[in-house]
Amino acid sequence: MEELKIALKVNDLDNVATIFANGIKDGTEVEIRDKRGNKELVTVIGDVPYGHKIAVKDIHVNEQITKYGEEIGIATHEIKKGEYVHVHNLDSMRGRGDWEKEEKQ
């Protein structure tokens, strides 16, 4: 049997977890673990490269995405539990000269 892959949730407030494993494909089952030792099996949606993140719960559009217990961006799409989270569905809130430029126009 293949070894179970782990998704690490760093802080209790986090709605994403990081997978440090190769070969995570759409449909792979991973175990979300937190620092308290809680474990939960979830099916990954999307192919997730080494060190990338999945949602540990459903995240709605414009909802804050949280890692280390802090804001790392907002959701630009509806994100399902287990789904791959990265620049395709997460928007940064900082250094957005493009937003300021749009406001001025």
Binding site: N22, G51, E70, I72, G73, S92, R94, G95, G97
Partner: protein, 388 residues
Amino acid sequence: MTTWYGYRRPDGSVGSRNFVAVIPAVTCANDVANAICREVQGTVTYMHHQGCCQLPPDLDRVTETLISLGKSPNVGAVLIVSLGCEGTDHARMYEELKATGKPTEIIHIQELGGVSKAIRIGTDIARRLVMEISGIQREPADVSEIIMAIKCGASDTTSGMASNCVIGYVADKLVDLGATVIFGETTEFLGGEHLLAKRAVNEEVGKKIFQIVNEMEERAKSIGCDMRRGQPTPGNIAGGLSSIEEKSLGAIVKSGTRPIQGVLEYPEHVTTQKGLWIKDSPGREPEILTGMAATGAQFMCFSTGRGAPQGFPSMPVIKICGNPNTFENMKDDMDLNAGLIITGEKTIEEVGEEAFALLLEVLNGRMTKNEAIQYFSAIDIHCLGPVI
């Protein structure tokens, strides 16, 4: 008591290396400085790209940074190479470095009749300086005399969970032992500045942290675009970092947990400061490594995930790799494997103690990997205004 062995300078500071620094006062003097260095062992140079046709605040910044590089305890003597018509203040460089008590010389390429003559005369001077300082013996130094610079580069998501945690462990340990620790990369405070401000020793320092982050963010925003690809870099993004906030929150882990004493300007040299300090600087290697060496750091602990191999001419750089795959792939460039934290084979404390033992060895003279293969010529000085 932890003792290490270094070169004690006239001002009381202690170096881990004993170089003659051949300092180009302006970028147009680089080739002469470099030619001298090729001829004389025990010398280093700084191939920067500044020093002329810049606004006065930047010219002062370049002058002061070059002075601070010469003041570094890893430098035993200085040869300034001036072209003669540059915008930096080469006379001030000479006076201030001479005043430190280190053997200091200056040559002017135009005055000496051109490049070939300047190289010949400069080579003779550099050889004499090397012979003069090469007899200096290492002496015992206290752990509280250590000035450690820290940085992360080519980060991925392992950085914030492994290698930066190791550096944070070492930073806390050194601060508790009375040493000085400097971190920077102001751009990589964006999204985590409120956590740093909470650790400021007083309200003024807290405000200053918000101020330098705001200034850096405003400079980036003034261009009118999303800063992604600049920060985080394509490599950071490929490594799983989705935003500057995520990168920052992982980056600030390397500063440990101790109070932040204050903010140093980019050219500023440490004199009596102890504890944890911020140097206001961008994240890019060539500029921040120069700023950190100017601080007077005897070495740097550098965390990486994707594999950043760069070092600095006069400051040994220890590469601590958080990504176990990268460590295997780039073993020849990485000094310490913090990837074993990710694989669960070691704890942060275990690798932290290994890093502490290694840094003492490096202070005592052991070469780091980038130092041994001299991978350190890409350096520059961070300026704020345009080249005009």
